[in-house]
């Protein structure tokens, strides 16, 4: 799970563009309509490098709402629900894998 910030853009399957929301750092996903959402189900999915680059370029230009956008892998369930494609994204999506002490 090498940090995506240190990776070159490689597309080996379906991907989305994700970032952190400027005001609170929350995990957000880029939609096809050029908005941001916390719902991964609403993320725009790209399957080609060109599409991913287009999504990323638009997301990067939107620096007032989002910080450090990047391309991340996704997986689909049998019924085509979108899931994060690696452990890093799973943790970003679902939160820490540990019980939080102050909870």
């Amino acid at each position: 799970m090498t940090s995506p910030l240190q990776q070159k853009l490689k597309i080996n399957g379906p991907v989305m563009v994700t970032a952190n929301r400027l005001g609170d750092g929350a995990v957000i996903y880029r939609t096809a309509a050029g908005e941001w959402t916390t719902e991964i189900a609403a993320a725009a999915i790209a399957t080609t490098a060109d599409h991913a680059k287009t999504l990323l370029a638009a997301a990067t230009a939107d620096y007032v709402r989002a910080v450090d956008p990047y391309v991340a892998p996704v997986e689909f369930t049998a019924d085509r629900r979108v899931l994060p494609g690696n452990l890093r994204e799973k943790i970003r999506f679902a939160g820490p894998t540990i019980a939080l002490p102050g909870a």
């Binding site: 799970m1 090498t2 940090s3 910030l5 952190n20 400027l22 005001g23 609170d24 750092g25 929350a26 995990v27 620096y63 007032v64 910080v67 450090d68 690696n86 452990l87 890093r88 943790i91 970003r92 939160g95 820490p96 894998t97 540990i98 939080l100 002490p101 102050g102 909870a103």
Partner: protein, 552 residues
């Protein structure tokens, strides 16, 4: 405690106002992230996986109870009710909102706390022995020198944009509790043949991608010359340190590439030019800063009072805790008490707001309003009357910070790992938690003796895995979490980098592998009091490799 003056207060207040304006401009879009990033990093603000993280400095690990209550307040008001004490005497809050950060910082400034020097390529928070000022084996209170260096380094214009971050640690004791040999500059205060106190100056220590033990470039530096000499080191580093490759930018690479001797010559040449200038320390100035460290009005007490003896005789659990977590104080009748932030199944170094408040209350009642933070991610009450120990233990036990595992196998140093950190390759905390469950038998742990496990979730080594007696490093292999294990590392006065044990093991095997290492140690040690680290030193890595990998 150190008493800050109006200058410090003004400096911190101005910094908050400046940052409030920077945040406002970022939120409005006036600043891009690229423009804002270096500004937020100068104020200890990182963007992690789920949220912003604020790292607050605890200079030389000293906290007042008032400051601890403020940390509890920040945890409660701005975060999720807990904080994480780090390996560099800082505390991190993991869920801070950017738009609330200026208010959080203003609240912290009201008790003279800040986040300067906790990130960015500057001289970072100066660290020292968490027992400084009370340790029986020290020659003087190293915090005085930490404070002198803090005043010199804070917002130092020449050293605010170094090739890379720069860490300085100081010890004044015979046993190094500050890990000075794995810092960019390590300072060991000691006495020369004439009985004068001065510094052994080590440079080029560090962990991360390339681990090195610091090399001594000056065995004895008079106190008056501390600032000029450190400035000379920083100047040589600033001039020759690499800026073209982030992985080769730390001073340790420079020292390694040109050699400690050549580096030392450059420093001495630079120092000759400035040693008698403005940075030469006037004894009056040193005394003035030393006078601002206030110690309790210690009572005249005897060691081992009746209350303590009665407590030890009456309660075996108290006796066990006392033997593990209480150390001799330099003043008779007093004790140094370590509070374990490593409960079974807990994230190492974390404390809830409720625990912080309770610890602050206990510090008021039993430790002259003072708390210390150690690089092992535990807390310390430094001024406890021995007669109060039974009562204090009951209170600490009731809030979950009296696990008698200090320096034992479950006293694990761990970075936040992939559960929080944007740079991590693997998780660290769940590995630590499972290890504390596996080694929950404290009788067995005591039988093992001192055994430090350090875990890092990536090569940046925030969990100091290289210098763990057993070091665990998370690496990624084809999208899966694997862990490399090292043994034989240590961070004290005999500091060494651990040796690789063998191929990395998958996440599900790492705790079993550690258990196998421990089993091998029990088989291989010469006698029950030969510590793990001494067994490794005596026989090397191979006998461990044979046993641990025989069935893998």
């Amino acid at each position: 405690m150190y008493l800050y003056d109006d200058f410090d207060k003004t400096l911190v207040d101005e910094r908050v106002n400046e940052f409030r304006d920077q945040v406002k401009r970022r939120l409005s879009g006036e600043l891009t992230e690229e423009e804002f990033k270096s500004l937020r990093l100068m104020n200890g603000v990182y963007l992690q996986l789920h949220a912003y993280m604020l790292r607050i400095a605890i200079p030389y690990g000293t906290l007042s109870s008032e400051q601890m209550r403020m940390l509890a307040h920040v945890a409660r008001r701005y975060d999720r009710n807990y904080g994480h004490f780090t390996t560099r005497q800082n505390i991190q809050f993991n869920w801070i909102k950017l738009d609330e950060l200026p208010d959080a910082m203003a609240d912290l400034a009201s008790v003279k706390m800040h986040a300067m020097q906790t990130s960015g390529n500057c001289i970072r928070n100066i660290t020292t022995d968490q027992w400084a000022g009370v340790a029986p084996d020290e020659i003087e209170d190293a915090r005085v020198w930490g404070e002198i260096l803090r005043q010199w380094s804070t917002l130092h214009p020449e050293f605010s944009f170094l090739p890379r971050k720069f860490k300085i640690a100081i010890t004044a004791a015979s046993h190094d509790r500050a890990a000075v040999k794995v810092h960019d500059i390590g300072l060991r205060l000691h006495k020369n043949g004439a009985g004068e106190a001065g510094f052994e100056v080590m440079v080029g220590g560090g962990l991360g991608r390339t681990a090195f033990i610091g090399k001594t470039i000056r065995p004895f530096l008079p106190k008056r010359d501390l600032l000029s000499y450190v400035e000379a080191i920083l100047r040589v580093y600033n001039q020759f340190g690499r800026r073209d490759n982030i992985y080769k930018a730390r001073i340790k690479i420079l020292v390694h590439e040109i050699g400690a001797e050549a580096f030392g010559r450059e420093v001495e040449a630079e120092w000759e030019k400035i040693k008698d200038g403005a940075l030469a320390l006037d004894p009056k100035a040193i005394a003035e800063i030393a006078s601002r460290f206030r110690y309790p009005d210690y009572e005249r007490l005897a060691d081992e009072p009746a209350e303590l003896k009665a407590g030890l005789a009456a309660d075996a659990r108290f006796d066990t805790w006392f033997k593990n977590s209480v150390w001799r104080h330099k003043v008779p009748g007093y004790a140094i008490v370590t509070l374990s932030l490593k409960p079974e199944g807990g994230p190492p170094g974390d404390a809830t707001a409720e625990q912080m408040d309770a610890i602050a209350d206990l510090a008021d009642r039993y430790s002259a309003n003072e708390i210390r933070v150690g690089h092992e991610q535990n807390l310390v009450l430094p001024h406890v009357r021995q007669r109060d120990l039974p009562e204090l233990w009951r209170a600490l036990d009731s809030i979950g910070v009296a696990t008698p595992n200090v320096n034992l196998v479950s006293d694990i140093i761990s970075c936040p790992g992939l559960d929080y950190c944007a740079l991590a390759n693997t998780r660290s905390i769940p590995v630590a938690q499972e290890l504390t469950r596996r080694f929950r038998d404290l009788d067995l742990a005591r039988g093992l003796g001192r055994l430090h496990i350090n875990i890092s979730g990536c090569i940046n080594a925030c969990g100091h895995h290289h210098v763990g007696h057993i070091g665990i490093l998370g690496v990624e292999k084809n999208g899966e979490e694997y862990f490399q294990l090292t043994i034989g590392g240590r961070a004290d006065e005999k500091a060494e980098v651990g040796a690789l044990l063998g191929p990395a093991v998958p996440y599900d095997d790492v705790v079993d592998t550690v258990e196998d290492i421990v089993a091998a140690y029990l088989e291989l040690r010469e006698r029950p009091d030969e510590l793990f680290i001494d067994t490794v030193k005596r026989i090397g890595v191979e006998p461990f490799q044979e046993r641990v990998y025989a069935t893998r």
